[in-house]
């Protein structure tokens, strides 16, 4: 009797698991998730007009956004939507279970299997790009050379010893350690070969140093050397934010300096003297040195007649690595891919420049381990669909032939 009850319980348990499995692998779920992604993309496109692209992408598609309310034309829409990251993750599970595991196996299903594999590959590529890609920009004038890209968003603090008037390498405190110091928290940072530590506190993601003589601090901000950090709301174009923080130097004997301001909006670094050694401390957007140099030979912009609106812009560059040159042309939709970096022709400057003006070229530099995965996945999906089509065609022709033979 007991054994019978146990078996019934197991059956019930199995049936619950089975129901979950059926739900996760269902075509209905796939359809609902794809429609949801369509709605999220549409709403994000509308919301980014007011909120800016970066903030909107974070709100709609970041792994940190589980659910949110859309805001269109400044008005909150009272519908709680799931984050796009988790919708995509669920779609990935659905595709694996429904499109690869549960799907009927057989020669006729090979095409479908291949296509579903392509979609799984594409979703995985999106996840890898989300977690591991980096974006920055590089601006170069004609005849100039650059070997570094600047991050769009991340502010870092750099400490550098000065030798013969020049910086001699930099120690870099990454933004992920600074953004945590936005309340009353502080952190002491030590550096190899540097005879002092830095105590950082009061991080603000968008702030400007203000002279207390011009405007008294309104919220009890710390004033140091006549200046304080005034917090500002985040800009719609988030890359225009300028971060700031307060710092103190802690020397080896435990003596502390007065607090000083580090700001993304500063024009010069702070100088620290320790004995006969001199160091600079500065806050700036993170720089990524490239393993090669890029020199802009010529930049050509074709404008629509009678306007400053570019119809096409093209950069002829020389990539220099280990003394060897390679000539490359970068233009819209024709990026340069090399050693894991992709250089897209992004824009040009100075703003408002027109025909005949001296200009510089701006590249968006992307380091994305899954850069080509979407392209490969599309080939896989297309191949799978072709196989499905040919299989169906073969079946149809075979059936028609059999029918003809039968009638004969």
């Amino acid at each position: 009797m007991d054994a019978e009850l146990k078996n019934k319980g197991k059956d019930r348990e199995k049936s619950v698991l089975r129901k979950v499995y059926d739900f996760l692998s269902s075509l209905k779920l796939a359809t609902a998730l794809l429609l949801l992604l369509l709605v999220l993309t549409w709403l994000a496109t509308l919301e980014q007009i007011d909120q800016g692209l970066y903030l909107t992408l974070r709100k709609y598609f970041s792994w940190q956004s589980l659910a949110f309310f859309p805001e269109i034309n400044g008005k909150r829409v009272p519908v709680l939507l799931p984050g796009g990251y988790y919708v995509s993750a669920l779609l990935l599970v659905n595709m694996i279970l429904g499109g690869l595991v549960r799907i009927r196996k057989g020669p006729k299903q090979i095409g479908n299997l291949i296509s579903h594999f392509g979609i799984v590959f594409m979703l995985l590529g999106g996840g890898v790009a989300h977690h591991f890609s980096e974006r920055g920009n590089m601006a170069i004038g004609e005849g100039e050379m650059a070997d570094v890209a600047e991050d769009y968003f991340e502010y870092v603090i750099e400490v550098s010893e000065v030798k013969d008037g020049e910086n001699d390498g930099f120690h870099v405190i990454r933004g992920k350690y600074l953004t945590k110091l936005d309340g009353g928290d502080s952190q002491i940072f030590d550096f190899d070969g540097v005879p002092f530590s830095l105590n950082i506190s009061g991080y603000l993601k968008n702030a400007v140093p203000v002279s207390s003589l011009e405007r008294a601090p309104a919220e009890g901000e710390l004033v140091t050397d006549g200046y304080y950090l005034a917090s500002k709301p985040s800009e719609v174009t988030t890359e225009r934010n300028t971060a700031g923080a307060y710092a103190r130097v802690i020397f080896e004997d435990g003596e502390k300096s007065s607090p000083f301001i580090l700001a993304g909006a500063s024009f010069q670094p702070f100088t620290v003297r320790d004995g006969d050694r001199v160091f600079t401390v500065d806050m700036r957007k993170r720089l990524w040195p490239m393993p090669f140099e890029v020199e802009l030979d010529t930049f050509t912009a074709d404008f629509h007649p009678g306007t400053s609106r570019p119809a096409k812009f093209v950069s002829d560059v020389r990539r220099v690595e280990n003394g060897q040159d390679s000539e490359v042309t970068i233009q819209m939709n024709e990026p340069m891919r090399y050693e894991g970096f992709t250089f897209f022709q992004a824009s040009y400057g100075p703003p408002g420049a027109g025909p005949g003006d001296t200009m510089y070229s701006v590249f968006e530099v992307v380091r994305n381990p899954s850069d080509k995965w979407p392209e490969y996945s599309l080939y896989v999906v297309a191949f799978g669909m072709l196989v499905t089509f040919l299989t169906k065609l073969g079946s149809h022709l075979g059936a028609a032939s059999r029918k003809r033979k039968k009638n004969a």
Binding site: S160, F191, D192, D225, I261
Partner: protein, 198 residues
């Protein structure tokens, strides 16, 4: 019972004995010098660090009792005066024409724009080798949404001049008694202004 009473005391003592140690982190990430790094300006002052300090295109002999402030984007020369701490004098370069700027000042005191005849009747003063118009106004000062709350009992004195196609304004604003007391100093200051050529 007494033993229980000692528990909170012991806990308090325990906490005070363990002074909170600040967290430390060793930074290992470094980067090399790149094409974007320029020669650093060492021992820069806060003004140099936080203002793109450029030589002023104008200079003048400000009275000793005016406090010189750093320049800003809108104020090429910038001063504060008076016991209230609300008196300001600043020199700016504006757009538009001389009448537009005079009328903008008048509007801040709720006055109607001047007719051409009224404008022609304004006192003329010399400033950086050209002729400007002297403006005075008193009453309730409201500089608009960007200028903070409106203030009663204020006064304005200043000059608007067209200097080579650029509109130069020297504006003194503050509580009426303080502006009245400094008006002559302002006239002398305006007379001392020179173009530096920067």
């Amino acid at each position: 019972m007494k033993a229980f009473a000692l528990i909170p005391l012991t806990i308090c003592l325990g906490f005070t004995a363990c002074e909170k140690q600040e967290e430390r982190m060793l930074i290992e990430e470094t980067r090399r010098v790149t094409s974007k790094d320029t020669k650093p300006k060492l021992f820069a002052t806060s003004d140099e660090r936080f203002r793109d300090a450029k030589p002023s295109p104008f200079k003048g002999d400000a009275p000793e009792n005016w406090l010189t402030l750093p320049s800003s984007q809108m104020r090429i020369l910038n001063y504060r005066f008076g016991e209230s701490g609300m008196g300001e004098v600043y020199l700016s370069v504006s757009g538009g024409g001389v009448p537009d700027n005079v009328n903008r000042w008048l509007k801040q005191f709720g006055s109607k724009p001047l007719s051409p005849a009224d404008f022609s009747a304004l006192e003329k003063v010399e400033v950086v080798g050209t002729e400007g118009v002297w403006v005075e106004m008193a009453g309730r000062f409201d500089a608009g949404p960007m200028g903070g709350a409106a203030r009663s009992g204020f006064a304005l004195a200043g000059v608007v001049a067209d200097v080579g196609g650029r509109i130069l304004t020297i504006k003194m604003i503050g509580p009426k008694p303080e502006v009245e007391a400094e008006k002559e100093e302002l006239r002398q200051y305006i007379g001392s202004l020179q173009v530096t050529g920067n």
